[in-house]
C-alpha cells in the first residue's frame, strides 16, 4: 500500500490554528490553558493532551527584515520510528500506509518512547499513565477521510494524500518559492532519518523553524535498537546463564578465600 501523509506548506500557513482546535475536537482532548508568556504560541511543546501545536518564531536580519515563521509541530511518523523500537510492550505499531500509532491498552506509561524520539514529541499523560501523540488520524484515514487538521485547514497549507505524489508537489513548490523570493526554500522529511511520513515545504532552512537540520536518534537508543532488542530473545538466557556462572564462581572464590563475613570488614 502506498504511503499516505500530510504535506505542510509553511508558505501558505497563516497560523490561524484551526488545525490545533480540529485535533482537539476529533480526539476529544481537554483544553490545557496556560497563561500567555509573551509569544502567540500556546505551549512550549506538545503535551499529553495537545498532539499538535503551531510554533511561532521571530527572526530579523538586515537583508530580509522581519520574518515571522510558523510551524505545525507534531509526530513525524518516521519510516523507522525509534519510539516503536524501544517500546517494551509493543504498544506502538506502524500502519501499512505509514502512520505510527499506539495501542493505549498496552501502554504502561514507561516513557521510553519520549526519550527515544529525535523530535521530543510523545508526551506523558499522567491522568491515565500513558504516553500520547498524533496518530495521523488513522481511524479517519482508514474510513476514507483526511486527518482532522488537513480537513479544516482554510488556506491549503495542509494537504493529505499519497506521499509520492505529494513529494512531487513539494518539489515543484520549492522550485517556485526559490524563484519567488525564498532562495533557501527546502523540503523537510524527504530524507531525514531515512524518510519521514510527513512532508514540509519550508521557506527557509530548517533551523529557522526550530527543526533539527540533521535529526538523530539518541546513541543509547541506537545501541538498544541495533544490539539489544534484536537479540532480546536469547539475551535473557545469556543473562541468566551469566548470573548463574557468576553466582557459582563467586561462591567458589569466596570459599577458596575463606571469607564468610558479609560486608563488614571495617
Amino acid at each position: 500500500m502506498a504511503r499516505m501523509t500530510n504535506l505542510y506548506d509553511v508558505s501558505k500557513c497563516t497560523a490561524c490554528r484551526g488545525c490545533q482546535v480540529a485535533c482537539k475536537d476529533w480526539n476529544q482532548l481537554p483544553a490545557v490553558i496556560e497563561p500567555f508568556t509573551g509569544n502567540y504560541q500556546t505551549h512550549e511543546s506538545t503535551n499529553g493532551d495537545t498532539y499538535t501545536i503551531i510554533k511561532f518564531m521571530e527572526h530579523e536580519d538586515p537583508v530580509d527584515g522581519i520574518q515571522w515563521n510558523f510551524l505545525k509541530f507534531n509526530c513525524m511518523h518516521c519510516f523507522d520510528p525509534a519510539c516503536m523500537d524501544v517500546c517494551p510492550q509493543e504498544a506502538i505499531t506502524q500502519t501499512e500506509w505509514g502512520a505510527v500509532i499506539k495501542d493505549y491498552d498496552k501502554c504502561i506509561g514507561c516513557q521510553y518512547c519520549t526519550y527515544a524520539c529525535p523530535f521530543e514529541i510523545p508526551k506523558y499523560r499522567k491522568r491515565e499513565d500513558i504516553v500520547t501523540k498524533c496518530t495521523l488520524c488513522y481511524e479517519r484515514v482508514e474510513e476514507g477521510l483526511e486527518p482532522a487538521c488537513a480537513r479544516t485547514c482554510p488556506t491549503g497549507a495542509l494537504t493529505f494524500g499519497e506521499r509520492d505524489q505529494l513529494l512531487q508537489v513539494a518539489e515543484e513548490r520549492v522550485k517556485f518559492l526559490r524563484a519567488n523570493g525564498f532562495p533557501r526554500a527546502t523540503i523537510y522529511g524527504k530524507l531525514e532519518l531515512g524518510g519521514l511520513n510527513k512532508l514540509f515545504v519550508l521557506t527557509d532552512t530548517p533551523d529557522k523553524f526550530e527543526l533539527p537540520i540533521d535529526p538523530k536518534v539518541p546513541g543509547q537508543i541506537t545501541f538498544w535498537q541495533d544490539w539489544i532488542q534484536p537479540y532480546f530473545g536469547w539475551l535473557i538466557p545469556v543473562a541468566l546463564a551469566g548470573s548463574a556462572v557468576s553466582f557459582v564462581t563467586t561462591r567458589i572464590l569466596a570459599n577458596k578465600n575463606g571469607d564468610h563475613t558479609e560486608g563488614g570488614h571495617e
Binding site: 482546535v21 482537539k24 502567540y40 522581519i66 488556506t155
Partner: protein, 783 residues
C-alpha cells in the same frame, strides 16, 4: 491596508494565496505592526495609526504627477472632467463654507457648474484648471513623499516600493484590489479613509472590474445584511433615508426631497411606497408614512450618541441584542456607568455577557483606583435586567449576506440548547405580544401597532418562506399578498405592490427561493473565459449581479479592457458576458448615456470628488489624540467631527504613546462566543499589549510581564508581548512609540481579562460616528 485579513478573515486569505500562485499576484501589507498577514505578504510597509490619508495622498500625488492613472477610464467613468464652481476653495486645511460655530460646512459651495439644461459642464481634455482632475492635482501637490513619510513614519524606500507596485495596476490589462476593515474605518476620518481607497481605484481603473474593487472585510459574517436591512438609525431597509421631522413632514414631501433628479434613485418613491405597504398592507402609503417615527433633524442617534444620552439619563430602557458594549463599546467605563442609569435593560445573547452582568461585583474590579465616570457597585444599581437566551447560528435557519452581497441560505444543523431561541422567534413573539396588548384599541396614536401587518404563520417560529416572499415583493390583491414580482423594476409608487427591501427584490421571483441555490459550476458565454461569477450559486443583490458598475469593465466602446477578465461586453445589439449588466441591457455604448457606468449616482459616473461632511476631497487630519501637530495644515482635528468630551482629550505630556486595538484569529469580537470555549480560550488565554523591544527597554518591561496601560478614560492591566514586529516610528525627526491591545476580553469565560475599550475615547467619524478605536494616546508602565 486597514485590514489584517490572514488573522481576522482567514478564509479570504485563501483566495489571495491562490491569486499569488496562479496569476503571480503580489500581496502588499500596510499596517502599523508586522502581522500574520504581513508574514504572508510580498511586501510589508509600516505606517503610524491614523495617517492613512497622508499615505494615500502621497500616492495620488505620485500617480497624478507621473500620469500613471488609467486615462481613458478616468475620462469616461469618473467625474474628473466635471467643472467645479468658483465658490469652491481650499486653504490651510479648510474648504470654503466652513462654520466654526457649528463645526460644519455649507456644501453647496462645492457644487459643479451646470449647463442651462441642468447637465454638468465638463472638459473632456481634463486640462481646465477648474476641472476635478486639475483641482485634485493641485490639492495633493503638498503631499510629497518626504513630507508624507515624516507624518506616517514610513521608511521612504518601502513607501516608494508600495506606490510603484500598486500604481502599475493602472495599466488597462491589470487590476488591483484593496481589502480594508476596521483599521480603515475606526477613525475620526474613517469615511474619508475609505473614500481615498475609492478614489485610488477610480484613478487606476480598478472599479467594476473582476480583480478590482474596494473590499470591505466585515467585522461580522452578516454585517452586509444588517446594513442592507438598516440596523442603523439613518436608513430604512434598502438604503432609504429615515424621515426627519421637519425635512420630511409627509409622504409627498419625503418623495420630493429625498429623490434625486437623475440616476437610478429616481425610482425611490416606488421603493418607499412598497416598503410601507409591506408593513401596513391595509393602509395607503401616504397615510402609513405617518406611522414611522421621525427623527429630530440633524440629531445624532449613533452608538456613542445613545450612550451619551443614557449617561445623561435621557433614555430609560435598552435592548442589548447580540451586543456587549461594556467590552466592545468605546470608553467602556462610561458605557458601563451609563447602563446603571437605565430603568430596565433586556440582554439577548448565547451566554451571560459582561454587559448582561454589568451590575455584578466582577464588573466593578479595576487594577487601579482611577474612576472617571462613577462606576456603581451592585447595591447602588436599580436597573432591572432581563436576560433572554438566544441560540447560535448553527441552531437556526435563514440567510446571511456576505460582503460580496450574496444572500446565502443556511440550514439548521442542530436544535437549540435548552430554552434558547432563534432571534427571529424572539422578535416574532415580542411582536405578537405587543399586538395583543394593543388589540381592540381604537386610538389613532395606536394605529401604527393595531394596523401593523404581522402575518407569518401560526407557529412560535415565524414562517421564513412567507417572510422571504415579502422580501421579494408581491402585488397586493384585495389587501392580501398576491403573486410575487419578478424584481424591483415591477414595484409601484401607488400602493399596489409591497416589498420589504427593494434591493433584495428578485430573490424569490416565482417558486424558488434563489438564496438556496448551490450550483458551483462557473459558466461563460461561448468563446469567453469564466471569471468566477458562479451566477447560479445563491443569489446576489441587485438582480443577481456579481460585480456592480460592471459597465466600467469594458472600454467606452464596449469591449473588455482585458479579455482575461471580461465581465460584460457589447455585441453590437446588446450587452452580454459573465455577469448581469449593470446597465441598460440594450443601451448602445456610442448612444446617449452609453458610457455612464455608475447608474446609482445622480451624475452617473464614479466620484473622485464627492461631498462628505469634511469636504469634497480627503484631507489629512490627525486623530483626536495625536502625538504631533498636523504637518499638512493647521487644523489638527477633522473640522467636522462632534467633540463629546473635550476634557477627556489626552495630551502627549502625560500620554506620549500611540495606542490602538485589534483582534486575533482565535477570538471573535467582544469574545462572548470564544472566551466561553475552552479550546479557543487555550489558544489566546490573556489580553496582551504588543510593543517594540525599544519601548520595553525604555520602560523596563519584560516580555510576558504585567503592565498597566492608562488613558484619560481609565486603566487596564494586560500582559506584555514584546516583539520585533512592532517598531517605533520616526515621526518628523522624533521617535514615537505605538502599542496595540487586544479588545476581546472581559471578566467572564475561560479566558477572563480586562476590556481594552476602557481606554478608548468617545469620539467618532464626521459622517458615521464610528468610534475612533484605532488611534489614541496612552501611557504604559510595569504593573
Amino acid at each position: 491596508m486597514g485590514s489584517n485579513a490572514a488573522e481576522n478573515h482567514p478564509i479570504s486569505f485563501k483566495w489571495l494565496t491562490e491569486a499569488r500562485e496562479k496569476r503571480g499576484a503580489k500581496i502588499i501589507s500596510v499596517d502599523p505592526r508586522f502581522t500574520r498577514t504581513s508574514a504572508r505578504s510580498d511586501l510589508y510597509c509600516p505606517l503610524r495609526s491614523g495617517t492613512d490619508i497622508a499615505f494615500m495622498g502621497g500616492m495620488f500625488n505620485y500617480i497624478l504627477q507621473n500620469k500613471l492613472y488609467h486615462e481613458e477610464y478616468v475620462r469616461w467613468y469618473t467625474n474628473a472632467t466635471f467643472i467645479v464652481k468658483d465658490s469652491f476653495g481650499f486653504e490651510d486645511g479648510l474648504f470654503t463654507g466652513y462654520d466654526p460655530e457649528k463645526r460644519s460646512y455649507d456644501q453647496n459651495q462645492w457644487a459643479f457648474e451646470t449647463n442651462e439644461d441642468g447637465t454638468y459642464k465638463k472638459d473632456m481634455t481634463m486640462e481646465d484648471p477648474r476641472c476635478v482632475l486639475q483641482i485634485m492635482k493641485k490639492h495633493y501637490e503638498r503631499y510629497d513623499i518626504d513630507l508624507v513619510c515624516r507624518i506616517t513614519g514610513t521608511p521612504k524606500n518601502k513607501y516608494l516600493e508600495v506606490i510603484e507596485a500598486y500604481a502599475a495596476t493602472g495599466a488597462p490589462d491589470k487590476t488591483g484590489t484593496i481589502m480594508y476593515a476596521m483599521g480603515t474605518t475606526q477613525h475620526t476620518v474613517g469615511t474619508e479613509n475609505v473614500r481615498s481607497f475609492a478614489i485610488l481605484q477610480l484613478l487606476l481603473g480598478n472599479i467594476g472590474r473582476a480583480g478590482g474593487g474596494v473590499n470591505a472585510l466585515r467585522g461580522e459574517s452578516n454585517v452586509q445584511g444588517s446594513t442592507d436591512w438598516a440596523l442603523l438609525y439613518h436608513i430604512l431597509p434598502g438604503y432609504l433615508e429615515t424621515p426627519q421631522a421637519k425635512r420630511d413632514p409627509d409622504f409627498e414631501t419625503y418623495c420630493a426631497v429625498e429623490t434625486p433628479k437623475t440616476g437610478y434613485w429616481v425610482n425611490k418613491p416606488k421603493f418607499i411606497a412598497s416598503l410601507l405597504k409591506s408593513w401596513w398592507m391595509a393602509d395607503d402609503p401616504a397615510k402609513s408614512y405617518n406611522y414611522i417615527p421621525k427623527r429630530i433633524d440633524g440629531k445624532h442617534y449613533e452608538h456613542i450618541a445613545l450612550f451619551e444620552a443614557m449617561y445623561k439619563e435621557e433614555i430609560k430602557g435598552l435592548f442589548v441584542w447580540g451586543s456587549n458594549p461594556i467590552v466592545g463599546g468605546p470608553n467602556a467605563n462610561k458605557e458601563q456607568a451609563a447602563l446603571a442609569k437605565l430603568d430596565w435593560m433586556v440582554a439577548v445573547d448565547l451566554w451571560q455577557t459582561e454587559t448582561s452582568e454589568f451590575w455584578s461585583y466582577k464588573a466593578v474590579e479595576r487594577p487601579t483606583d482611577k474612576d472617571e465616570y462613577g462606576i456603581k457597585t451592585p447595591e447602588d444599581i436599580a436597573t432591572e435586567v432581563f436576560f433572554l437566551p438566544a441560540c447560535s447560528s448553527f441552531e437556526k435557519e435563514g440567510t446571511v449576506s456576505n460582503s460580496g452581497r450574496w444572500m446565502q441560505y443556511r440550514w439548521k444543523s442542530a436544535d437549540p440548547v435548552g430554552d434558547s431561541k432563534a432571534d427571529l422567534e424572539i422578535v416574532h413573539k415580542l411582536g405578537l405580544k405587543i399586538k395583543e396588548l394593543y388589540a381592540g384599541s381604537s386610538r389613532v396614536e395606536d394605529e401604527p401597532i393595531t394596523h401593523l401587518t404581522w402575518d407569518y404563520g401560526h407557529g412560535d417560529h415565524p414562517d421564513i418562506d412567507l417572510i422571504a416572499r415579502e422580501i421579494n415583493g408581491f402585488t397586493v390583491v384585495d389587501g392580501k399578498p398576491g403573486p410575487q414580482v419578478a424584481n424591483f423594476t415591477k414595484l409601484m409608487a401607488d400602493g399596489t405592490t409591497a416589498c420589504s427591501n427593494w434591493i433584495y427584490s428578485g430573490c424569490y421571483p416565482a417558486d424558488e427561493y434563489l438564496s438556496k441555490r448551490r450550483d458551483n459550476v462557473d459558466t461563460a458565454p461561448p468563446g469567453a473565459k469564466p471569471i468566477g461569477s458562479y451566477l447560479n450559486w445563491s443569489w446576489c443583490w441587485p438582480v443577481n449581479r456579481r460585480i456592480i458598475y460592471n459597465r466600467a469593465s469594458a472600454t467606452p466602446e464596449g469591449q473588455p479592457w482585458d479579455t482575461d477578465r471580461a465581465s460584460i461586453w457589447w455585441n453590437g445589439e446588446k450587452w452580454i458576458g459573465n455577469d448581469i449588466p449593470d446597465f441598460g441591457g440594450t443601451k448602445d455604448p456610442n448612444g446617449p448615456g452609453g458610457r455612464n457606468a455608475f447608474i446609482m449616482r445622480p451624475e452617473e459616473v464614479g466620484c473622485i470628488y464627492s461631498k462628505r461632511n469634511e469636504g469634497p476631497l480627503p484631507e489629512h487630519y490627525e486623530p483626536w489624540e495625536s502625538p504631533i501637530k498636523n504637518l499638512l495644515n493647521s487644523q489638527d482635528l477633522n473640522p467636522a467631527v462632534v467633540i463629546w468630551e473635550p476634557e477627556k482629550q489626552g495630551q502627549t505630556d502625560k500620554y506620549p504613546i500611540v495606542g490602538t486595538t485589534y483582534r486575533v484569529s482565535e477570538h471573535w469580537q467582544s469574545g462572548v462566543m470564544t472566551r466561553m470555549q475552552p479550546w479557543l480560550a487555550e489558544l489566546m488565554p490573556n489580553c496582551f499589549v504588543e510593543m517594540s523591544e525599544e519601548l520595553a527597554l525604555e520602560k523596563d518591561i519584560k516580555n510576558g510581564g504585567k503592565v498597566i496601560i492608562s488613558t484619560t478614560r481609565g486603566d487596564i492591566e494586560a500582559l506584555a508581548c514584546v516583539t520585533k514586529r512592532f517598531k517605533p516610528f520616526l515621526i518628523d525627526g522624533n521617535y514615537v512609540h505605538q502599542v496595540g491591545v487586544l479588545w476581546h476580553f472581559g471578566f467572564n469565560g475561560y479566558a477572563p481579562d480586562e476590556p481594552a475599550n476602557r481606554l478608548t475615547p468617545h469620539i467618532g467619524d464626521a459622517n458615521t460616528m464610528i468610534p475612533e478605536y484605532k488611534a489614541w494616546l496612552c501611557d504604559v508602565r510595569r504593573a
